[in-house]
Amino acid sequence: MPNYRIHKTEYIDETKRVSFKYDGKTYFGYEGDTLASALLANGIHLVGRSFKYHRPRGIVSCGAEEPNAICQIGSKKDLTEPNVRATELELYEGLEASSQNCWPNVKFDIGGINNFISPLIPAGFYYKTFMWPKSFWKKVYEPLIRLSAGLGKSPTEPDPDIYDHKHVHYDVLVIGGGISGIISAKMAAKNNLKTLLVDDKKILGGSTIYQNNESIKIDDKLSSEWLKNEIQEIKKLSNLTIKTRTSIAAYHGYNFLLAKENLTDHLPEEKKKNKIRQRLWKIRAKKVVIATGSIERPLVFNNNDRPGILLSNSINKYLDYYGVTCGEKIILFTNNDSAYETSISLHKKGIKNLIVDLRKSASSELIKQAETLGIKIYFNHVVTNTFGYRKINSLEIMELSEDGNTTVGNKIKLSCDCLGMSGGWTPMVHMHTQSGGKLDFRDDDQVFLPKENSEDQISVGSCNGDFDLENIIDKTVNKINKFLDIDNKDYQDTNIICSKENDKRNIWLLPNKIPLGKTKCFIDFQNDSTAKDIKLALKEGFRSIEHVKRYTTTGMATDQGKLSNMHALGIIADTAGVKMGTLGTTTFRPPFTPLTFGTLVGRNVGKFFEVVRKTSMHEWHLENNAEFENVGQWKRPWYYPKNGENMHDAVQRESKAARDSAGILDASTLGKIDIQGTDASEFLNRVYTNAWSKLAIGKCRYGLMLNEDGMVYDDGVTTRISENHYLMTTTTGGAANVLSKLEDYLQTEWPELDVYLTSVTDHYSTASICGPNSKKILNKLFPNLNLSDENFPHMSFKEDKLENINCRIMRISFTGELSYEINIESKYGHSLWKMCIEAGKEFNLTPYGTETMHLLRAEKGFIIVGQDTDGTMTPSDLQMDWIVSKKKYDFIGKRSLYRSDTIREDRKQLVGLLTDDPKEILEEGAQIVSDIKTKPIDMLGHVTSSYFSPNLNKSIALAVVRNGKTMKGQKLIIPMENKNINVTVSDTIFLDKENKRLNA
């Protein structure tokens, strides 16, 4: 096996060999490697296929900007992870990774055919090719796209890893642990500011930490040596927290930032177990220093995407940090000085290399150094083509014309096994723009720079466009002193020697004699878009960068165009003949690099996903085999199956028992609001549609609450307990919203009212007993209570004691049966329930759940807000005009009841439906029509509630139907998938219209 690890570095521990699998084959690397550096050490460049054309692709970079080396990690159904950048993944023993975009394998794949049909896949091909015929979508296009896209596989089982969240507050947050971040953090922390420094890498130091060029020195030391001292010093500062392997995912307003700390991703399998994998830091910082550095730009020329073509600075890092050379015969292609650093480093390690420079000439310290070393430089030359299928093996260069628009002279063919490209540097302004900051454009080197516009955030170092070392240090120190309002003098005598670059030659799309249509000049490697695509988009009339981006998909892959956005902009500007700065940029959105859902969710999974509310009778329901239904956060018994009953049978039995003898329901979840104050009656008058002033003490009344738009919002029974004291009940799901709404009106519209609201939902448990025998059961429980209709009539309230514990008893009914609700302090709820069951035994008192409750109330035509209403129903639509007071001057929603729209006759209105076949049960939500022949079919409404009534021995339903009020007796049709069901419109009350059962 080839070995490209050519020298030792302090960052690679060669005593710790690590074995790993890549695409099923076993390789070795060392502790300190990333997956990418280990692959390169093994001579592997080819790591995937391109997205559209399936061209072979290699590792391009050494960081977060990597577009090609995207891996799937592991193969376990619950732990596999897609979209991991090999350049960021630290190597560990037992790591299994595979290239993501290369079905069936990286060396041969069927999608390679796309390369030859590429004229058929132009910009916007998604929009053009996959338009029609419609029938092709499911069978042809979608499988094709899915197969060739290869965007990795999501885990198919729940994530077993543990994630954590942490909230922190700091005076200063420094993002980025390169030289400018370290200086900033030290200055802040030494001036008594509580400081947090985060860096996404394993160690601090950024790109300076492996710098070893003699012409770049600080205080007479190599800059890397100087920086190591600084790092040792800041580690001693007590009010500085340093978090490595921690990357900022999002920078929100008010200096609220999310950071992801990686805790176990670099550990071997067995050491990961039972540890927190990642921690999401929720950071509030008074001030934020952004020191995120810059990334090198590729160059755009024909066939610039072959494996073996990397960013020049990445070649340098692989060499000086990881000890790995990317080739044995390297060509560096550049428009600026930074490739010379790489060249000199390679030369010193004995790697043959030469330089192709777009500039006509240049004369900095670095260039002189390279010339002295005898490194061959082709000034004023451009790479026009590259060769080699699975890896670059040669290239062609030509001389540039005077204006740089074309090439002149003869082709020169050069052989190589690696090409480094350097198109200059792009400041990482992502954090600045995520925070809401604007950008300025600097024409000299064609970069967008942060525009200083806020007092609590600043950018320093190369993310601020300060590239040479002297500039970085001086400007950082000055800016930080001013920004933090301190006077730190640590760096005032620092002596800096560095090479100063004088010029760059920026050409976004490099000239070529071959027509553009026949070249492959890639801009976005991950999404496979080319310069030709951008030009085509412009030709087709797209102008806005946001539109071009979407049309060509440039910058829309998982790397979010970190390497491609600038080139796309540059080519648009050049083609359209406008200044690049006037185009603006696309929006940088969080997260900066992909984030796993587990990190965002943290501990809120499984039983911590949402609060579960249980009534105090819950244990009894469990013991008695209740099936539960979620109602809001509540667990409510749905039905109680007996002896293997199914739901239908259980509900039929429960419903019949409740009407024939007695039933009992846990009604504890109903919202309860305690209302007190001298204006309580007036308040109720304003919030309900009916009148409340004359409700006698000890009486109950049903109320309907509207929104200000006249639509039904909630309903429930309210009891007058004393002169200035009411107890309101709300629907289970509406309790919190009703309280909020009432508080809103009290605080903002009617602050003059003397009213106090307290939520007491959890304070009381409620057992509701109904049926003809309910009075007998009550009598057993409360022998001293006079239950006669005279003393305790329907819609009234009594207080009594159950073994010395106070109970509030309301005689109210949601089933149409004689019915009592017993309320007791929640801690006695379980005992109350058991006593009721015991007392009811001789009367076959049957516990019933929400399904039976719904059935019983439907037999009586009582609505359920949220089931028979949907926020568009007025009281009149529900045929409940009787509850709307004509006398009251005002109440919430009153004025809306006679808006032109609400008085329309043909609104959807609540009706009953009876099926012609009494055994046929309608589906809730089914559409209702009257004519199925005329197309398009006119939809009249839909079924809202539907049951088989055991008490009537037929199917019943409630529905909302256009103009329904006038349709009684009319035949309608419910068209279903394989049949049409005939129904007749009926009254909404199916049982006991005379309300005889209430006083049975």
Binding site: Y254, F256, D709, T748, E749, R895
Partner: protein, 93 residues
């Protein structure tokens, strides 16, 4: 994520609050006297300003009090907070 200075509790994270839309829309005292258009103006019409906007917020997971906020929607900066019933600060009118 805003930091909101509740007039009753002090600075708290936005997640403790809920927004209640435009402020200073007074519910008409005599709704029955209004035409459909006038009522619709109260009921439906809300400003959506780029710039300085007056808003209602509720410290729903805190003291549950409603209060007013002056916010510049162009940069999300909260310029002032004041209690219900108080007049908006004149410098932002």
């Amino acid at each position: 994520m805003f930091l909101i200075n509740c007039p009753f509790c002090g600075e708290r994270d936005q997640s403790e609050f809920s927004s209640g839309g435009e402020a200073h829309i007074v519910r008409p005292k005599q709704p029955t006297e209004l035409s459909d258009d006038e009522w619709a103006e109260y009921l439906f019409m809300r400003k959506n300003i780029k710039g300085i906007q007056f808003e209602r917020w509720n410290h729903v997971h805190g003291c549950r009090k409603w209060f007013n906020v002056v916010r510049d929607t162009s940069n999300d900066k909260i310029l002032s907070v004041y209690k219900m019933g108080e007049k908006p600060p004149v410098n932002y009118k």
